[in-house]
């Protein structure tokens, strides 16, 4: 069962990486606002004015 050492090692590495990411994300204020991000994704980006052609109608 010594392979468990490898698995624990690999899992802890990844978990440690996630922990690092978690601490970073909390500290950097990623989760300060837990409302607007959910809403913000609903807005489509403003179309560039140089966009060639608008939405085409069905050919039928």
């Amino acid at each position: 069962m010594s392979v468990i050492i490898l698995l624990i090692g690999a899992s802890i590495l990844v978990a440690g990486g996630f922990l690092f990411a978690f601490v970073w994300s909390v500290k950097s204020g990623q989760f300060e606002d837990d409302y607007t991000p959910g809403v913000r994704i609903l807005f489509d980006d403003q179309k560039s004015k140089t966009q060639p052609n608008p939405i085409t109608k069905s050919k039928k």
Binding site: M1, K47, T50
Partner: protein, 713 residues
């Protein structure tokens, strides 16, 4: 505020979308094919490439890595650009990623049909393809992380967190589970043996479900479901909490695939405990998805995209409740090795992955081609025929699973097993037939979708580069004079994390693996001996033909199993097994004690049985393997195989590789002679001889041990 022009790359999304539909059809067609083979076992027509054992891995690999894999990339490449308000990091990397992944899929299909397999489920591909997968995955990683680095939105949306978790964890799982020593370009032996190999495999196997079929799809759900419903996710807070909980818990659930096996008990309990805990974060995601539609259920009635997504999220909820339940030992004792598990995974695969993919496709294609869906009613028909297909698939499989498990465990009043294995197997024929009808219905829906999407695309005009204007993210940090060289790294924590992780993993693997893994292969049962060269060749044929797909080699410690098969399996029996062959499904009987006791059969029985199974077992659904009787054993490979086994710590004598073929021929001649006494004339260098040698060896060592103990008493 300054606005910058950004051009989103839709072309790469288009490519992945086409690949998703294409490979979906291929993968599911192979699935239907193997389902039919269980109803009509003659269907393989004696052709190895058409036989269940080789085609089942093609089916699983195609639907997981080709269909769902391309689906992930399609969704990630579309949503990531919009969430980061940036074009993909590098167009060339995108192209390499796309074509590299398709190349892997083609190589996988070809090599698996040729019988090049490691036999580790969902990781069957041989080492050169494994290396290619790693390279392409790194390309994907650089491309994705690069895009996140240059994002114009400071907040990293929860969907992206799911993508990052997928990227990092799949890389690690793939590398650890694929560690092997090559024998040739097309053959390798797992670095791990027996119990250890089983643990690593299912640690990987379950996390393949977790981090390939679940986390990326949850990420996609968090983007596409709110977009399709045009309302924010029910609770953004919940999404964050359940993300972090999910990724910390998932990694240890794997041992629940090995309950009641020879895996140490504490490891089994660990798997059960973590699996039960997983209900909470899994249902967090399901609840969050469904409640996003609160007050908008009228939209579900109208919108086919939402219909698909609602069924997908519901199927996710059902299978993530069922999973923990099946991880309870008492439930697992019934469900394991039966079609219940097949039902369980298909609710997840057809419902969650399939339907979410279809929903995304029906939303995405009209959008990218700037038109509306070609036929709403056809899409609705797809939804209903797909849902019906899932039910007609799953219900018979549940029914069949319970039926067979109860029949296996049934004793008559005299205390003897009521049914032979064959009886429990033929009992399920109707269920297998119904299941293939369910699969055919589902596949029909996919064909309709392909047609509908094609017509949609041809009536619209594709926008390859979507030009938008987004606000520039203000820089909050300006480089100061004389700062340390590592300050830029400190400002890039994610980049830093990934780099550090890759470096440490590589270092750890190189350092740790060879030393303590090989040392640990010391036998704990003295009567367990390495395979003879002929048996080793026979075992490789067993692996090549995918026998493990239908036959387990793991007698669980239940009276119903020891009465049927013999002594229950012990960890020490498997120390020389690279790879392990415990199997995960008993479509046919267990073979762990095939060479001893009441299960032992004459060589001639095996010879005839492999040629025509139904002549000896009436009603058997096993395919025939006539090519084994015509093809010669590849004796040229014997020395290399012995040498690799020696490297792995199997105690063949020094220099044995040079004389191994002599022993091989001696043993083969003896088997040919015994066949001759039963009036079967065959050359002794045929593959069937090696396979017979291997089958006759199964269980012999442990039997010797038991006899010895009896003598001592």
């Amino acid at each position: 505020m300054d606005y910058v022009k950004v051009s989103y790359d839709n072309k790469i999304v288009k490519h992945f979308a086409i690949a998703t539909v294409f490979w979906g059809i291929i993968g599911m067609t192979v699935g239907l094919w193997i389902a039919l083979e269980l109803v009509f076992p003659q269907l393989n027509m004696g052709v190895p490439q058409l036989t269940f054992g080789r085609d089942r891995p093609i089916h699983t690999n195609a639907v997981i890595f080709a269909f769902v894999g391309n689906g992930i990339f399609m969704g990630v490449y579309y949503s990531l650009q919009r969430l980061c308000k940036a074009r993909m990091f590098n167009d060339t990397l995108s192209k390499i990623h796309f074509w590299g992944w398709q190349l892997i899929i083609v190589l996988a299909a070809l090599s698996l049909s040729m019988g090049f397999t490691t036999s580790k489920e969902y990781a069957e591909l041989e080492w050169p393809i494994d290396i290619l997968i790693t390279l392409i995955w790194v390309v994907f990683g650089i491309n994705m992380m690069g895009t996140i680095m240059v994002r114009r939105e400071r907040h990293i949306y929860v969907g992206i967190w799911f993508y990052i978790a997928t990227l990092v964890t799949v890389a690690m799982l793939h590398i650890v589970n694929s560690l092997a020593i090559p024998v040739s370009l097309t053959k390798s032996y797992s670095m791990f043996g027996g119990v250890q190999d089983a643990l690593v495999q299912w640690w990987y196997g379950h996390n393949a479900v977790a981090f390939f079929l679940t986390t990326p799809y949850l990420g996609l759900m968090y983007y596409f479901l709110p977009k399709a419903a045009n309302r924010p996710v029910y609770s953004y807070k919940l999404s964050i909490v359940h993300f972090w909980t999910l990724i910390f818990l998932y990694i240890w659930a794997g041992p629940h695939h090995l309950l009641y096996t020879a895996l140490p008990h504490w490891a089994q309990t660990l798997g059960t405990a973590f699996s039960i805990m997983l209900i909470a974060p899994s249902w967090g995601g399901m609840v969050n998805g469904l409640l996003t539609l609160r007050g908008a259920w009228d939209k579900v009635r109208e919108d086919v995209v939402l219909k698909f997504m609602v069924v997908a999220v519901t199927a996710y909820g059902m299978s993530t409740f069922e999973g923990p339940m099946l991880s309870l030992k008492n439930v697992n004792a019934i469900g394991h090795f039966t079609d219940w598990i097949v039902a369980h995974v298909h609710v997840g695969a057809l419902g969650w992955n399939g339907f979410l993919t279809f929903g995304i496709l029906y939303w995405l294609i009209p959008r990218m081609w700037r038109t509306t869906i070609y036929s709403k009613s056809l899409a609705n028909f797809h939804f209903w025929i797909g849902t019906l297909g899932i039910l007609v698939y799953a219900v018979p499989m549940y029914w069949g699973g319970f039926t067979q498990a109860l029949m296996w465990k049934d004793f008559n009043p005299d205390g003897q097993l009521t049914y032979t294995f064959l009886e429990t197997s033929t009992q399920l024929k109707g269920m297998y037939a119904l299941r293939s009808i369910g699969g055919a219905l589902y596949l029909t829906g996919v064909f309709m979708m392909a047609y509908n999407l094609f017509k949609t695309a041809s009536q619209g005009s594709f926008l390859a580069n979507e030009e938008v204007e987004v606000p520039e993210m203000p820089k909050i940090y300006n480089k100061q004079k004389g700062e340390n060289w590592h300050r830029p790294i400190e400002r890039r924590p994610i980049q830093f994390m990934v780099l550090a992780l890759i470096i440490v993993i590589i270092g750890g693997v190189v350092e740790l693996v060879p030393t303590f893994l090989i040392k640990s292969n010391v036998p704990t049962i003295s009567s367990v001996k390495p395979y003879t060269p002929l048996e080793l060749q026979g075992r490789d044929i067993y692996v090549r033909e995918g026998c493990y797909n239908c036959h387990s080699q793991m007698v669980r410690p239940f009276r119903s199993e020891t009465e049927r098969y013999g002594e229950y399996s012990k960890a020490g029996e498997f120390v020389y097994d690279h790879p392990f062959q415990w199997g995960s499904k008993r479509t046919g009987p267990d073979l762990a004690r095939e060479g001893v006791g009441w299960l032992k059969k004459p060589d001639s029985w095996h010879y005839i049985h492999m040629l025509d199974p139904r002549s000896l077992s009436t009603g058997s659904i096993m395919p025939a393997y006539p090519w084994l009787h015509e093809d010669e054993i590849d004796t040229a490979s014997t020395p290399a195989k012995i040498r690799v086994m020696q490297k792995l710590g199997v105690p063949y004598e020094e220099g044995y590789d040079q004389i191994a073929n002599e022993d091989l021929m001696k043993q083969a001649d003896a088997i040919a002679l015994s066949l001759k006494t039963d009036n079967i004339e065959t050359a002794s260098n045929m593959e069937i001889i090696a396979l017979i040698a291997y089958l006759q060896r199964l269980g012999v060592d442990i039997n010797a041990e038991t006899n010895q103990q009896k003598l001592e008493k």
